[in-house]
């Protein structure tokens, strides 16, 4: 248990991170590029190889049809609820989508479901962790927005499974942040966590008491974040360009992505400066330049005269509702913690300060605190340590769970903000003599009518023993587990028979589908492994060719017999040919051959004493210290 590596993962809209508990401190594991943040961008390279993170970013601009970002916005959603998203984001849906099918997004000429794309990001994080540990990582805690519904949570869990991770727990992001925040200080009291990320907003109010982190109320908006601010700025730039230059770039994915990159930089700059300049090179060589002051920016994200268009004001409603649900006044909040990159915006900070009448804490990096908290929870699940010994997280379900009753009305059976795990039992009967099936429609949401709530699933209770109408007494138990995911079981009480339940998830993948994707991802793993081998072999070939070049310039070259020189030249040529190809085994063989042939040269290059010591060494090894060391971009571990 103790030596098991359970990592904590923040699977974000914009960036993702993986962290673990090093001794008593949670730390973020950097990627190969040395950076903690892995941009949540997935691209297909020229040979359809999967590229994730910083390297995938350039594809957003160069080949936008082969790259995707902000996929989190589509997790657990259906075609009908992403129409707004489609207007603002360059998501390209697969053409052959059928009604009721899980969304698929086109990437090049392939198509993937949102959980699969998320799985590719998770797999990258998994690899980063494996490289860091030098061993396999198979278990993880993954964070989700507190306001994620059942389908969005299930989709996240599926993504973990597809990536080859056992998801031990889904933790709500603001709650995770509070764990990181409350770790080293013996905190007590009421804490509000205001989490405005790239694509989601959460507010959670917690009571901290002797290591117990009890969530009292949570609220939010799973489609509100920095992305929306970027889209406002992009719209302005596109309007300007259309107006001033007569260029309509709205349909040019490439141009929009260039603009997007620039406005994000401007947005970030405006958190530190009073003004910045947008300077964008447009296709065709024209330039778009515009100065933006912080004041203009603030009016854009929080227009004082039209509060309903204000992105910032959209966070106020959920905050007030959470306070109301917690039966607290703002004055009763002891501390406020800011999470998510968008809370770097001074105007957001001012709003939070005004709302809670407290100066919010900003001492933890808002980009990393969620991942650090996930690592703390991973440590707790792994059996704990001195630092986490007394810590226990009691979270809540963000949305009420209901069932549809006669007249299309929602009957709420587990109210929002109930501590999870939570359960409810309902009794059902039949309406017709001998009726063998009973249908149950499960909903999530706060509205009174079923059509206004989120449909979770339709359950079909089968095999009800034949009885007179109204006689069967079917006990159905709804249980929300510690991940916030619903489980349903049923029993006919008079016969004591477990009723069979057939679930039709309204949104989401079936177990079989996930299983299928899992196998596919093994295929990818195979493919990736091959790719890696080719790259490594090429690098090695590069090294030996460089070394040989040096050898030719040394006096030792002249000491070789002409046929030796010819043989080396021939082998070098064939290595140069095969290293262009994709067959790593052929490249390796050519390297070995050339190594063999140059052993003599390597020996001659040393002075005679050293040459004796180096007998049997190869060209590659004789190149002492100079030239590129054989790079191994990925540790040659034998897992995967």
């Amino acid at each position: 248990m103790a030596n098991e590596r359970i990592v904590g993962i923040d699977l974000g809209t914009t960036n993702s991170l993986v962290a673990f508990m090093q001794g008593e401190t949670p730390v973020v594991i950097p990627g190969e590029d040395g950076l903690n943040l892995v941009p949540s961008v997935v691209a297909l390279g020229e040979n359809d190889q999967v590229i994730v993170g910083s390297a995938a970013r350039k594809y957003l601009i160069d080949t936008p049809e082969r790259a995707v970002y902000s996929i989190k916005r589509l997790m657990g959603r259906g075609v009908e609820d992403i129409q707004e998203e489609l207007k603002l984001f360059p998501f390209r849906l697969a053409d052959d989508l059928e009604a009721g099918e899980v969304l698929r997004i086109k990437l090049g000429d392939k198509s993937y479901t949102p959980p699969e794309i998320s799985a590719l990001i998770l797999r990258q994080l998994k690899r980063n962790a494996e490289r860091f540990f030098g061993g396999p990582v198979t278990k993880a805690v993954i964070t989700v927005p507190a306001y994620f519904n059942d389908a969005q949570r299930q989709a996240t869990k599926d993504a973990g499974r597809i990536a080859g991770l056992e998801v031990l727990r889904l933790v709500n992001e603001p709650t995770a942040a509070s764990l990181a925040y409350g770790l080293d200080k013996k905190k007590q009291g009421i804490v509000a966590v205001y989490d405005l990320g790239g694509g989601t907003f959460d507010i959670s109010i917690l009571k901290l008491h002797d290591g117990i982190f009890e969530v009292i109320a949570t609220n939010g908006d799973t489609h509100l974040g920095g992305d929306d601010i970027d889209n406002l700025l992009i719209t302005i730039a596109l309007d300007d360009i259309r107006g001033d230059m007569g260029l309509d770039l709205g349909r040019s994915g490439e141009a929009v992505q260039t603009i997007r990159k620039a406005v994000i930089e401007a947005k970030i700059a405006l958190s530190a400066q009073d003004a910045t300049t947008l300077d964008i090179e447009l296709p065709g060589g024209k330039r778009y330049q515009r100065e933006i002051t912080r004041e203009q920016f603030e009016r854009l994200i929080d227009p004082p005269d039209i509060p309903q268009a204000s992105i910032l004001q959209r966070t106020v409603g959920p905050c007030k509702q959470a306070l109301k649900d917690a039966r607290l006044k703002p004055e009763q909040i002891d501390e406020v913690v800011l999470v998510g990159g968008s809370t770097r915006i001074p105007k957001v900070r001012a709003l939070v300060q005004h709302l809670f009448k407290r100066t919010p804490h900003t001492d933890l990096n808002p980009d990393e605190v969620v991942a650090l908290g996930a690592a703390v929870q991973a440590n707790i699940l792994g059996g704990g340590s001195e630092a986490t010994k007394e810590m226990l997280l009691l979270d809540v379900t963000p949305l009420s769970l209901g069932i549809e009753v006669a007249g299309g009305v929602t009957d709420k059976i587990i109210l929002r903000n109930s501590t999870i795990p939570a359960s409810a039992t309902q009794f059902y009967t039949t309406q017709v003599d001998g009726q063998a099936n009973v249908a149950i429609h499960v909903l999530q949401g706060e509205r009174e009518l079923a059509k206004d709530c989120r449909s979770l699933a339709r359950f079909d209770l089968k095999g009800v023993p034949p009885m007179t109408a109204g006689m069967p007494r079917i006990e159905v138990r709804f249980l929300i587990d510690a991940n916030g995911i619903l489980h349903v079981s049923a029993r006919e009480q008079r016969s004591g028979k477990e009723a069979e339940i057939e679930v039709q998830p309204s949104y989401g993948l079936t177990d079989e589908q996930v299983e299928g994707m899992l196998l596919e991802s093994f295929d990818y793993a195979e493919e990736d492994f091959r790719q890696r081998q080719v790259i490594e072999a090429r690098n090695e070939a590069e090294t030996i060719v460089t070394a040989l070049g040096k050898g030719r310039g040394s006096p030792a070259w002249a000491q070789l017999k002409p046929e030796e020189q010819r043989r080396i030249a021939k082998l070098e040529k064939s290595l140069n040919v095969v290293k262009q190809g994709e067959d790593y085994q052929a490249i390796r063989k050519a390297i070995d051959d050339l190594n063999q042939a140059t052993t003599h040269l390597a020996e001659l290059m040393m002075d005679s004493a050293v040459a004796t010591a180096l007998k049997g060494k190869t060209m590659e090894q004789a190149d002492l210290g100079e030239g590129p060391a054989a790079p191994h971009p990925v540790a040659k571990a034998d897992f995967e």
Partner: protein
């Protein structure tokens, strides 16, 4: 029953009397019990809520699924069921109204369904809603309903009568005060009930029980009325 000291721990075999073994600490298979029994309480209504919270935290530290992440599947299942039972019980018992309603149900009372969903359901299916106006409110409610109807009409026509809105607002405030006062009345009944549990006759208990049902029904009625008023006041024209 968890209070039953004749059961032994499945893991270490020690005699145990809790949801988890007092010797080895392991979670035990759940037993379906009522919420009072789960916390080892008698069916009384005056509950020390601070004490209940302490118990809740202590049980959570023993039963929560986080503690069984690496345990075998059945222990994970037991912990899931035990902690959901714990959370359900705590949520119900810490709230004065939920606690009272729960106890009354245990005592065999079918509380009148006055929830909004029942109202909507009745409307949708064309049934008459089972809702009895408390006699002492009859006159007041009649007047208020007339005024609400008038305001609805005005709003439809896009008119605005501030004096009517003010009058309705005043009545709403009164209703809210009555609603609050009923909680105090209920708390006086609790004490009578708790006393009767110890020493009262079956008949006395039934009398107090019925009194509480009446208070809750009146309270629910008022709550729905206030909600209706709010709906009309907040609705756009």
């Amino acid at each position: 029953m968890p209070g039953d000291a004749t059961s032994t721990c499945w893991s270490c075999g020690t005699m145990r009397a809790e949801h988890f073994c007092s010797a080895c600490g392991k979670v035990q298979p759940p037993v379906p019990v009522d919420y009072f029994t789960f916390f080892g309480l008698r069916r009384k209504l005056n509950v020390d809520v601070a004490g209940l919270e302490r118990e809740f935290y202590q049980f959570s530290r023993k039963l929560h699924p986080d503690l069984y992440s690496g345990a075998e599947a059945r222990e994970q299942q037991w912990s899931l069921e035990q902690s959901s039972q714990l959370n359900d019980a705590y949520r119900t018992l810490k709230d004065p109204i939920k606690r009272t309603e729960y106890l009354l149900r245990l005592e065999g009372v079918e509380l009148e369904e006055q929830s909004k969903s029942a109202t909507e359901q009745a409307r949708a299916s064309g049934q008459v809603k089972k809702q009895v106006v408390p006699p002492d409110l009859l006159e007041e409610v009649f007047d208020l309903n007339m005024q609400l109807e008038e305001l609805r009409m005005q709003k439809k026509l896009g008119e605005d009568d501030p004096s009517l809105i003010e009058e309705i607002g005043r009545q709403k405030l009164e209703l809210e005060e009555k609603h609050e006062a009923l909680l105090e009345e209920l708390k006086r009944d609790w004490t009578e009930w708790d006393y009767a549990v110890d020493s009262g006759s079956e008949e006395e208990r039934r009398k107090i029980r019925d009194k509480m049902v009446d208070v809750l029904n009146r309270r629910n009625y008022l709550r729905n009325l206030v909600r209706d008023v709010n709906e009309v006041l907040e609705s756009g024209s």
